[in-house]
Structure formats: structure tokens, C-alpha cells
């Protein structure tokens, strides 16, 4: 930038009042000494004035309505994050929907080839993986016969003998008191289990579906406790196949979400779904929000004046005394914030549903504390996929 340009740049800033008093004085000195600069200044002022004189055009009258309509239409722009509530509820372990879909694939080649098994080469491994339905497909196919699962765990099994594997799986299921059910019963069961704040009861049913001549899928709704027992046995089936097994599909890949595996395998009463002791719950309620966080109580807070009244930051929002009334109330409030604590004071609340406090602070998932009165009964999803690499 040459000297002249530097000076004209100063002139531009001068007319905008953006120079320090010293710079402004220096410019004024220059203007007095150099008439051409004064002319330049005048031109810049005129240009600025021409732009400023442009009429202001108002937005269309219906713009606000259109924006609000878009906001209402767009699920992710909802002021109240129902999805988040669903996730919270799932994470809380009030009830996790668990479906176990077991897909057993048997290739159209020789049904048995257990002897002289040779590890697949790299190319064979590729073929193997290609022949395995993608996790998303599994989920999609599972979703076709059930309501969308909150969490699904895939456990693929490669087999060379579909009949034998089928017997083994059903033996495991029946041994664990998991009973066969028809589609209608399964649909109802999954629907019941998917309700996060529903009183959790063991469901323990499975449904077998013959997808293809060489594929069988099992949808199983079981408790987390049972999963812990059968997962080892299912893994044993995988290990006994003498064929390469597709690595287990993590819950995250299968849409189960972060931390699901831990929840799935947690001991009842331990882990993220641990039930808070009553004393802890009371203590948690009285805990102040973390620095910079806003503690918002959306829970039922019975007071001497107004019993069973839901309050939010001291403002009476709605009277609600049952869990069924909780969810509509939740929708009234932006619950996109992560919970910092869940707590209930047993003397004040007759409801099994606990108080939940939310913070605007971005709490780590690990800091989520939720309660469930029967954590060991929460359901969980695992999809087992078996692939046969036999020729």
C-alpha cells in the first residue's frame, strides 16, 4: 500500500469517526495543507451518504409467522426437546427397550465344514463382511417388526449349521425362562418396554422370524439381568463355530448410544442406572447448581400451600400428581439441558417418579444420575448376527 492509499484509508476511517484523537488531528493537519485530500474526503462523504440514503426495505409482514411455522415444523428446533427427554429417560434406565435380534445367516454352500477349518484370507474376510448384513440394515429390519428400539446391541453369529445354532439359541432362551411369543404379543411387549417411565416388569419373550432360508432372526425382550446371563452363552456359540466371527457391533454403531454397553452389562443397582439411596436423593436435591449453571426444578414439589404442584424456578407451572401427567408437563419446558441430579424426597413424594433437576451447564454424561426403582428389571437391546463363511 503506497503512502497516498494509506492516507485515503485514514480519510475513510476519519469520516466514520474511527480514528484516535491524535490520528484525527494529524488528518486534519493534512487536510489543511493538501486541498486535493479535502476533495477526496468530500467524495468519500458523498459515497457514504448515497449508501446511507438508500431506503430501508421492511421484511414481508408475514415473515415472523413463516419463521415460527418453520420452527414448529422442524423437529430439531423444538423449544422442548422431547427427544432429549426420551434419551434421558433411556439413559436413566427407567426402562430401556431391548430387543434381541438374532440373525443367523447360512450361506448356500455346504452346510457343514467344521473339520479342517482354515482362517479366511484377507479377500475371504472381505467377502465375509460383505455377506453380513450391515448393522443399520439389521436395525431397519428389526424396526419393521417392532417399535423403534431405544437401544439395540448387535451380536453377529457366523454359523455353518443353521439348525444346530437355532437349537442352541432356543435352548439358551428357554433355559432362561424366555418364552416364545407371536408378533402381536411381541409388538405390545416392545411398546410397553419402550415407555421410559412405565413401571418396569420382566417381559422375557422372544420371537423367531425366518427371514430367508438361510437366515433366522430372533427378537427378544429381556431384562438386563438376563442379558448378562445369556450374553456369555451366546458368545460361547460364536466361539464354538470354528468360523471367523464378525466383530461384535458396538451399541454406538447400532444406534444404542454412548455408554449403552456399560449400562447393558452393569450389575443391577450399579453403574449409571444405580438407584440413589434415599438419603443421597435428599442431599442431591439440596445441592446447589454448579458454577454458572442454572438449576431448574421441574419436579413435583409439594409445598404446605400447594401440594403436588409442579414448579419450575418457583413458578407454578401446572399441577400434576401422576407420572402420566409428567410428560405433558415436560413438553412445556425446554429440557434440552442435561440433568445434574435426580432426586426425590420420599416423605414429600408419593409418586414413584423422582424429582429431576436440570442445569444449563453442560454436564458430562457420566455426571448424569438417574433413578429407577427396579433397575435390575430395565430392558436392553442386543442384536446378534451370525455369518457362515463355509464354502
Amino acid at each position: 500500500m503506497d503512502e497516498k492509499e494509506k492516507i485515503t484509508e485514514l480519510l475513510s476511517a476519519y469520516i466514520d469517526g474511527e480514528l484516535s484523537s491524535e490520528q484525527a488531528r494529524a488528518v486534519e493537519d493534512l487536510l489543511q495543507r493538501q486541498p486535493e485530500l479535502a476533495k477526496e474526503l468530500e467524495s468519500l462523504r458523498k459515497v457514504r451518504q448515497l449508501i446511507r440514503d438508500l431506503p430501508r426495505v421492511s421484511a414481508p409482514d408475514d415473515l415472523a409467522q413463516k419463521v415460527l411455522a418453520r420452527v414448529k415444523r422442524k423437529p430439531r428446533v423444538r423449544l422442548v426437546s422431547i427427544k432429549r427427554f426420551g434419551q434421558l429417560a433411556a439413559a436413566a434406565g427407567i426402562i430401556l427397550l431391548i430387543g434381541i435380534g438374532i440373525i443367523i445367516t447360512q450361506l448356500t454352500h455346504k452346510p457343514t465344514r467344521t473339520a479342517g477349518y482354515k482362517s479366511p484370507s484377507a479377500s475371504e474376510e472381505k467377502t465375509l463382511r460383505r455377506s453380513t448384513p450391515a448393522p443399520s440394515n439389521l436395525l431397519a429390519s428389526a424396526a419393521m417388526t417392532s417399535t423403534p428400539a431405544k437401544a439395540v446391541m448387535n451380536i453377529p453369529i457366523n454359523t455353518v449349521n443353521l439348525t444346530l445354532t437355532q437349537k442352541q439359541i432356543e435352548s439358551i432362551l428357554t433355559r432362561n425362562n424366555i418364552k416364545p411369543a407371536d408378533s402381536a404379543k411381541m409388538t405390545v411387549a416392545i411398546k410397553k418396554a419402550s415407555k421410559p417411565d412405565r413401571k418396569s416388569q420382566p417381559i422375557n419373550i422372544f420371537k423367531r422370524t425366518q427371514i430367508k432360508p438361510n437366515q433366522i432372526r430372533y427378537e427378544v425382550v429381556i431384562t438386563r439381568k438376563q442379558l448378562k446371563h445369556i450374553i456369555d452363552e451366546l458368545n460361547a456359540i460364536r466361539a464354538s463355530q470354528n468360523v471367523a466371527q464378525v466383530p461384535l457391533i458396538t451399541p454406538k454403531e447400532s444406534g444404542g448410544g454412548r455408554g449403552l454397553e456399560k449400562i447393558a452389562l452393569a450389575e443391577p443397582g450399579r453403574g449409571k442406572t444405580k438407584k440413589l439411596g434415599k438419603e443421597r436423593e435428599i442431599a442431591a436435591l439440596s445441592q446447589p447448581a454448579p458454577a454458572g449453571a442454572e438449576k431448574i426444578e421441574i419436579a413435583k414439589v409439594p409445598t404446605p400451600e400447594v401440594d403436588r404442584t409442579w414448579t419450575r424456578k418457583g413458578e407454578i407451572a401446572k399441577s400434576a400428581s401422576t407420572k402420566r401427567q409428567i410428560r405433558p408437563l415436560e413438553k412445556l419446558h425446554p429440557l434440552s439441558r442435561k440433568p445434574i441430579v435426580t432426586a426425590a424426597t420420599p416423605k414429600e413424594s408419593k409418586s414413584r417418579h423422582s424429582f429431576i433437576a436440570y442445569s444449563s451447564n453442560k454436564a458430562e454424561p457420566s455426571s448424569r444420575k438417574t433413578t429407577t426403582t427396579q433397575p435390575q428389571l430395565a430392558q436392553i437391546v442386543v442384536i446378534l448376527t451370525a455369518v457362515n463363511t463355509g464354502r
Binding site: S12, G17, K46, V47, I51, P55, S58, A59, P334
Partner: protein
């Protein structure tokens, strides 16, 4: 008082005095708080409060009424989506303008649907056909006959604006139309103040050349 007139007054009253003002306007703070509580009508009030400023600025940058409307809508939707990230360290409208300008620049670059129309292109509205430049220039002229000269000048200015590079146009619009200070423009565009200063200077020089006959 017309909507336009009140806007103009508001602009003139709050010119550079707002420069450097960082604290959140009390009215905005209240509306935002209500928004966070899930009150949609509060968000509606925010839209109504800022829609004209955002729309006008985008319109002057893209020169197309429909695109400006679309981008203005998107600005507010995006603002609501990202309300949590607004840290209240700056004026809400600065943050809003930042979203608006980012959207405008991004859309312009993608140049898919958003092909900024030439001002001499025509638009049919019922039985009448207008030139876009005339629509923008004359929208608020109550008496077109009396203001024909002024309208022509405005059209020329808008055309000149559309001729200069977008990076210069945006700075001019924010400085001279939105009457933001350099500091605020640098926050909106995420640019150093020095860059804002030099772009503005270059923009004015380019406009001066384009409008040389109006300078006399």
C-alpha cells in the same frame, strides 16, 4: 409513523453511540430468557424486532427479494437452534448479524438455488412487470413521480453495490446501512479491525468510481 420511518429513526438515533456496547440489551435479555423457557411467542417478538434490519441488510447484499426473505427466515431458525451458544457477551443483534452474514456468504458461495439476480432482470407480479432494481429502490416511495430522481439515484447506488466484490459490499452494508462501528463489524464478520478498515476503504473507492457522475 410508517414502519420504515421508525426503523430509519431507530437507526439514526443509535448510530455509533452503540459502538463498543457489549452488555445485552435488557429487553433482549428478557425475551431470550423467555425463549429458553420455551415460550414461542417470545421468539416471535425477537423476530419482529429484528426482521427488518436483517432483511434489509441481506437484501442490500444479495439484491434479491426472495433470497433475502429466505435467508432472513433461515437466520432466525438457526438463531433459535443455537440459542444456547449465545453467550450474552455481545449484543444479540451482533450475534444475529453474524449468523445472517455467514448464511448469506455460504449460500452465495454454494450458488445453487441462490443465484443473486441482476437488478435489470424482470419480475412479473400480476399484470405488471418490474425491474428488480426499481422494486428495491422504489418500494417505499409514496409518490413515484415526485421522487423519480431520488429513486433513480437509489437504483444506481444499489446497482453499483452489486457490482463490487461481495466482501467489500458486506462491509459497506454493515457500516453505512447498518451503521455499525469497525469493532462491531469485525465481530460480525470475524475479521481483524484492520481488514475491516481496508475493505471499507477499498469498497468506497470502488463505489466512488462507479458513481462518479453522481459525485458532481
Amino acid at each position: 409513523m410508517s414502519k420504515e420511518a421508525s426503523n430509519t429513526l431507530a437507526e439514526n438515533d443509535g448510530t455509533r453511540e452503540d459502538k463498543g456496547k457489549l452488555l445485552l440489551d435488557a429487553e433482549d435479555a428478557e425475551l431470550l430468557e423467555r425463549c429458553r423457557k420455551g415460550q414461542l411467542e417470545a421468539f416471535g417478538a425477537i423476530v419482529k424486532k429484528y426482521q427488518d434490519r436483517i432483511f434489509n441488510a441481506i437484501l442490500r447484499i444479495c439484491g434479491n427479494h426472495d433470497d433475502a426473505e429466505e435467508l432472513t427466515q433461515e437466520t432466525f431458525v438457526k438463531a433459535l437452534e443455537n440459542l444456547k451458544s449465545f453467550r450474552q457477551a455481545s449484543q444479540f443483534y451482533t450475534w444475529l448479524f453474524r449468523i445472517a452474514m455467514n448464511l448469506t456468504i455460504t449460500k452465495r458461495r454454494r450458488a445453487t438455488r441462490l443465484h443473486f439476480s441482476r437488478l435489470d432482470s424482470e419480475r412479473t407480479d400480476g399484470e405488471q412487470t418490474y425491474r428488480l432494481g426499481e422494486i428495491i429502490a422504489d418500494q417505499h416511495q409514496k409518490n413515484p413521480h415526485e421522487n423519480v430522481v431520488k429513486a433513480d439515484i437509489n437504483r444506481r447506488v444499489q446497482e453499483a453495490l452489486m457490482k463490487i466484490d461481495e466482501q467489500f459490499r458486506i462491509v459497506v452494508v454493515l457500516c453505512d446501512i447498518e451503521q455499525m462501528g469497525y469493532e462491531e463489524i469485525s465481530r460480525v464478520l470475524n475479521l481483524p479491525v484492520g481488514t475491516v478498515k481496508s475493505r471499507l476503504h477499498r469498497a468506497r473507492n470502488l463505489l466512488k468510481n462507479e458513481l462518479s457522475d453522481l459525485m458532481e
